[in-house]
């Protein structure tokens, strides 16, 4: 990891909510980010199955999409989520960590467009997909 990425890693992992969920930035490169979240019993949304709540996956997707925007070569000063849609394709397997990968595929002067996917350790099938739009804050 480059110096810039190590700083981004420290920054993201220090966000109180990201820290509470145990998120780890694994990769950050020119508009693409990868963040992992370990399985934890406190994240369970369905007590009968032990499956993680969709909201925890949302938090992971949102953080990963924001990181992708911040790492875009256009070098935005800051960003905030305008809208984020998540599709839950299947239940994440209890006990497995979840890894999200987000790609910021287009940026205008004021809006960034992002797509993301989430997988558990059964890597061949997706757990969830997301599409989002984010603000682009200009440098002052």
């Amino acid at each position: 990891m480059t110096q810039k990425n190590r700083m981004a890693q420290q920054f993201i992992e220090a966000l109180p909510h990201a820290k509470a969920l145990g998120m780890k930035l694994e990769m950050l490169d020119e508009g693409v980010a990868q963040i992992a979240m370990p399985y934890s019993e406190k994240l369970i949304g369905d007590p009968k199955t032990g499956v993680i709540h969709g909201g925890a996956v949302s938090a992971l997707m949102d953080t990963c999409c924001g990181a992708a925007v911040m790492s875009h070569p256009s070098n935005p000063h800051g960003t905030a989520t305008i809208d984020l849609r998540i599709e839950y394709l299947r239940a994440a397997t209890p006990g497995q960590r979840i890894v999200t990968k987000a790609s910021c595929y287009h940026v205008t002067r004021s809006v960034a467009f992002v797509r993301a996917t989430a997988r558990d350790e059964e890597e061949e099938s997706l757990v969830a997909t997301a599409t989002g739009t984010f603000t682009v804050e200009a440098k002052r």
């Binding site: 909510h17 369905d46 849609r85």
Partner: protein, 169 residues
């Protein structure tokens, strides 16, 4: 013709509050975020008291978009499940004397969920209410609104589609 005597108010409250408590306490992620539900008749209001762990941007500071999304999704799911349970709870089909996560119906499953972030979430308590726009045998469509200081100044809203659990029997 004589009408059946109405149930004592305490008995009704005890039953409804007991079922709601069992529903909410069974979900670890609700406990993790610290979300509570207040009930007026069948109307539920989700309350997410502020705590440090919910912060996403320490500079502003602002609530994490993921915490907001989870709060909205949780409010939608509990409101939907509550509406689904209501009839069985009131008719006696659901045994309210022994309530465990196992004896309650399964929770609806989220198919998709779209969140609009209207303004940044301030470091203070948030409230949310869901409206079930359609609830069929298999699918439901729910809209949720969240606010902080002013009911008509929403900081986020969301729409989601849910797969309903199968009816017993």
């Amino acid at each position: 013709m004589s009408r059946p005597k109405p149930e004592p108010v305490q008995k009704i409250k005890q039953r409804r509050d007991g079922v709601l408590r069992a529903l909410v306490e069974g979900v670890p992620y609700i406990q993790f975020l610290g979300i509570q539900f207040e009930r007026r008749g069948d109307e539920l209001t989700g309350v997410m008291p502020f705590k440090e762990e919910l912060i996403g941007n320490p500079l502003l500071p602002a609530l994490h978009g993921g915490a907001t999304a989870a709060f909205l999704e949780m409010t939608a799911i509990i409101t939907l499940s509550w509406a689904y349970i209501w009839e069985d709870m009131e008719s006696g089909a659901l045994d309210v004397t022994k309530l465990t996560p196992e004896s309650l119906p399964r929770l609806p499953k989220t198919i998709d969920f779209t969140v609009d972030y209207l303004r940044s979430g301030l470091p203070r308590d948030g409230y949310a209410r869901a409206r079930i726009n359609r609830s069929g045998r298999r699918y439901a469509s729910v809209h949720v609104e969240a606010w902080q200081d002013h009911r008509d100044r929403l900081f986020a809203q969301a729409t989601g589609h849910f797969l309903m659990p199968g009816r017993r029997g």
